[in-house]
């Protein structure tokens, strides 16, 4: 999964999508994940980082992570595999 290149994200959790002009607010852990995604980190790497920094367990994070990334996809903030291959 990859965040669209033109998406801007501030440290404060403000996300702007210039394609449709929509803006979003993201909580700090969300910012951290989006930034890791922007760096092309794999799910395994992201999981390791989060589990290292936060008091949570693998199952909880896995569930929340896929919920979150599905939402990013739904909001057109990520590229699908097809788009990436183009």
């Amino acid at each position: 999964m990859r965040i669209n290149k033109n998406i801007a994200i501030s440290d404060m959790g403000f996300v702007f999508n210039p394609v449709n002009g929509e803006s979003y607010s993201v909580n700090p852990i969300g910012v951290e994940i989006i930034n890791l995604l922007k760096e092309d980190k794999s799910y395994e790497e992201i999981k390791a980082t989060i589990l290292n920094n936060y008091s949570t367990d693998e199952t909880t994070f896995e569930k929340d992570y896929f919920d979150f990334t599905n939402l990013l996809l739904h909001l057109n903030l990520t590229e699908t595999e097809d788009e990436k291959n183009n």
Partner: protein
């Protein structure tokens, strides 16, 4: 290095020019304790869900209500409306504070007697009093509030076999400008039924007409409706005085004062819109003082206030079972509290506060219970901080009607504890067990065995 508290990642669309109601978040701080007792410890010790009643809140609320009336009127008597919450410990706090008992069934009547309330201080309302109930009430010299003519005739017949003069009042219903008008109970004022019933009582010579009663509705948001009701009851009392030279001892204004809950669909939170005890007291007492009672014959003012006295003293603690999303992407949170134990969620948007620290991020969430039924929704749309599975929360203002109208459905009813004024926790109703139910059921002999 200590790890940071985990919160699930969220993303929320920003809608310009559309702050949530009043541009405010719903919650600012977690509720980690109630009257000095940790919520987490309470759940650990007594399980989840758990009803918690604050004794000091009950006491301070009834004191406030009493003060509002007694500073304006010389003779005031509160009677605790048992149906609102008849856990014995709760009733006894009210009785210690000087409240009589107001009951509406033989079951409640016996509960009041068992709680040690003298028969003379029990007000017996309700349309369904059996002959045995009436007999008991007459023997104990309780105040019987007659609901319909059939009841009046039954009481008159009983005077032939019981050597006591029944103490009675009638329940009067009336138009107070409130819609819908409650005209199912008692005798109507406008069409003359009430006056007619009073004449029947006086002419029988067998009953002691003690007072007049009305209960104009529940969760009343208008104090002025009580002024209308008080003036109509005063009219009837003065009519009786003039015609029979009989002085009525009390006027009972019933219950109905709104609590601080927020009605479903209401834009403003209940805290901001419900009249205060002072508002209700001012409307009622001014009307009585300005009516034509002779000063020496001012009737005692009885109040059967229910929900406004107990709602805020009750909390329901619970835990998050799971988080989900609907097919349309909406956040759903499942909790271990269903509408079967939180009956009032059909009427109110109950305030819910997480019981552990949270950040300022929120998500619009639908909260539903564990009942596997579509109606089992506690809050349809609440802007809630992010809760994880296993997190605890506090539902506020649940003291009225939930612990009497709760239903046993697919789960067992939970423990109820009371926290006393010294922060000591007392179990006041034990959670139900399998035995509670198996002890009531009987299986016919031929159904006892089967093979699968």
């Amino acid at each position: 290095m200590e790890k940071q508290r985990y919160e699930r990642p969220i993303i929320k669309k920003l809608e310009t020019g559309m702050p949530n109601k009043f541009g405010m978040r719903t919650e600012y701080a977690p509720m980690t304790q109630i009257d000095g007792v940790s919520v987490k410890e309470l759940i650990k010790e007594y399980g989840s869900p758990l009803f918690v009643i604050s004794e000091s809140t009950i006491r301070s609320t009834i004191k406030k209500a009493k003060k509002a009336f007694t500073t304006r009127y010389p003779k005031v008597q509160f009677a605790w409306s048992y149906k609102t919450n008849y856990l014995d410990a709760v009733c006894k706090v009210f009785h210690q504070e000087g409240s009589w008992a107001e009951v509406v069934s033989g079951f409640e009547y016996k509960k009041a007697i068992a709680n040690g309330v003298s028969g003379k201080k029990i007000i017996f309302n309700g349309p369904d009093k059996s002959e045995d109930d009436l007999r008991m009430a007459i023997e104990n010299e309780s105040l019987i509030h007659i609901d319909h003519l059939d009841e009046l005739y039954t009481i008159l017949e009983l005077t032939d076999v019981i050597n006591k003069r029944p103490k009675v009042a009638i329940r009067v219903n009336m138009d107070t400008g409130i819609y819908p008008m409650w005209d199912r109970f008692g005798f109507n004022y406008e069409n003359g039924q009430a006056w007619d019933a009073l004449n029947k009582i006086m002419r029988s010579g067998k009953l002691e007409l003690m007072g007049l009663h009305s209960h104009i509705g529940t969760f009343m948001l208008s104090a002025s409706a009580y002024a209308v009701a008080a003036s109509k009851l005063a009219d009837l009392a003065i009519g009786i005085e003039q015609k029979y030279n009989h002085t009525i001892k009390y006027i009972d204004m019933g219950g109905g004062f709104a609590s601080k809950n927020t009605l479903k669909g209401s834009y403003l939170p209940g805290f901001d819109v419900t009249p205060s005890f002072d508002d209700f007291a001012e409307a009622i007492t001014t009307t009585l003082l300005n009516s034509n009672f002779k000063n020496s014959e001012l009737p005692t003012l009885i109040l059967e206030t229910g929900r406004a006295l107990i709602d805020e003293a009750g909390y329901l603690l619970g835990s998050v079972v799971a988080n989900k999303r609907t097919s349309s992407g909406k956040r759903n949170t499942i909790i271990d509290v269903g509408v079967n134990i939180l009956f009032t969620s059909f009427w109110y948007d109950h305030k819910i506060t997480p019981a552990q620290p949270f950040t300022h991020y929120t998500e619009t969430t639908q909260i539903y219970g564990p009942l596997c039924m579509n109606i089992d929704v506690i809050r349809e749309n609440i802007d809630l901080p992010l809760l994880n599975k296993g997190d605890h929360f506090v539902i506020h203002t649940v003291g009225a009607y939930n612990m009497t109208q709760w239903m046993q459905f697919i789960t067992l009813r939970p423990n109820v504890v009371m926290i006393d004024s010294n922060s000591k926790v007392h179990l006041i109703r034990e959670r139900e067990s399998m035995e509670t139910f198996s002890s009531l059921e009987k299986v016919p002999e031929h159904l006892k065995k089967f093979e699968l």
